[in-house]
């Protein structure tokens, strides 16, 4: 039987809404060097190998992020020459269908960088113990002549979509280093949840 309208949320002033909710300072239990990392008692994963380094997050676009620059290994690299590998509990978009979600995601992802995405290639895969979608594309920043290789893995945590991604920036005349995508795959393969999410707990009763 349908309920009558019970509660009403009124939202004033629609401009400039943020998509992500601020989170507390992450608590990290790194344990011994070879052991998996435990994050806020929520996630467990093997960190990507050096020179990837944990990014201190001062915004909320990611839940967990690692960063590496070309000069981490072989001297100063040409700008832009850097990569980000991240897990996002609330990726852009809202659909719980993975194909629709990736469409919504790429409308917002890297919006501040003013890039144009090529049509992503999509592949169904398994991740986090279930159905997932791998999307890969190249973003072009035609004014600064930069480009970015972007691979995103959309998966489920309970009913909600979460995402892992790798963004590798390069000058337009340089080749991408696709072997970094292996670091993303290993990160995802090692990733597990230690407890039900906030949203799962909310609907358990």
């Amino acid at each position: 039987m349908k309920h009558r309208l019970g509660l009403l949320l009124l939202l004033f002033s629609l401009a400039g809404c943020v998509a992500h909710q601020a989170s507390d300072e992450p608590e990290i239990d790194q344990g011994p060097p070879e052991s998996p990392m435990v994050w806020q008692e929520e996630y467990q994963f093997s960190p990507p190998p050096p020179p990837w380094r944990l990014l201190k997050l001062d915004e909320t676009d990611y839940s967990i992020a690692y960063f590496r620059a070309c000069d981490d290994e072989s001297g100063p690299g040409e700008h832009p020459c850097e990569s980000t590998l991240a897990y996002d509990e609330e990726p852009f978009g809202y659909s719980r269908d993975l194909v629709r979600r990736q469409q919504e995601f790429f409308r917002r992802f890297l919006w501040a960088a003013r890039v144009e995405f090529e049509e992503p290639s999509l592949r169904k895969i398994q991740a986090l113990g279930g159905e997932a979608l791998l999307a890969e594309t190249i973003a072009h920043e035609r004014v600064l002549k930069d480009k970015a290789l972007v691979q995103v893995i959309f998966a489920y945590r309970g009913e909600r979509v979460v995402a892992f991604y790798l963004t590798q920036w390069r000058p337009v005349d340089q080749e991408f280093e696709r072997e970094q995508l292996g670091d993303l795959r290993e990160f995802v393969a090692s990733f597990s949840f230690l407890q039900p999410s906030f949203y799962q707990r909310l609907t358990m009763d």
Binding site: L9, Q21, G93
Partner: protein, 104 residues
């Protein structure tokens, strides 16, 4: 807005509906709704009286300040919070209010 759209299925479970209110004209809101893919209603209130009633229309400003208001089925305001929405706090409140609604 995207956060609310993402949580719509949970609002539905808690028997809640979400409505946005703005001083923009309907044509602006129509464009905005389509570009963001929003499926909940946005109300155009160019005269601003709703904002005045809810304390979001600051003197001299042509737009509302952000505020989230939760009204229960009996018309009572149960929550009002300025600024960016705290989605988790809102969901926890809706869960609690829905529990009250079911018990009555």
């Amino acid at each position: 807005m995207e956060g609310h759209q993402r949580n719509l299925y949970l609002y539905e479970r808690f028997n809640a509906r979400v409505v946005g209110v703005s001083r923009d004209e309907t044509s602006t809101l129509q464009h905005w709704t389509e570009s963001l893919g929003l499926t909940f209603p946005l109300l155009a209130n160019p005269t601003g009286y709703l904002g005045i009633n809810f304390g979001t229309q600051h003197k001299g400003f042509p737009f509302f300040a952000r505020r989230t208001v939760v009204i229960d089925k009996w018309g009572k305001i149960r929550y009002t919070q300025p600024g960016s929405p705290d989605y988790r706090e809102i969901l926890q409140l809706l869960q609690k209010l829905h529990g009250e609604e079911v018990q009555k």
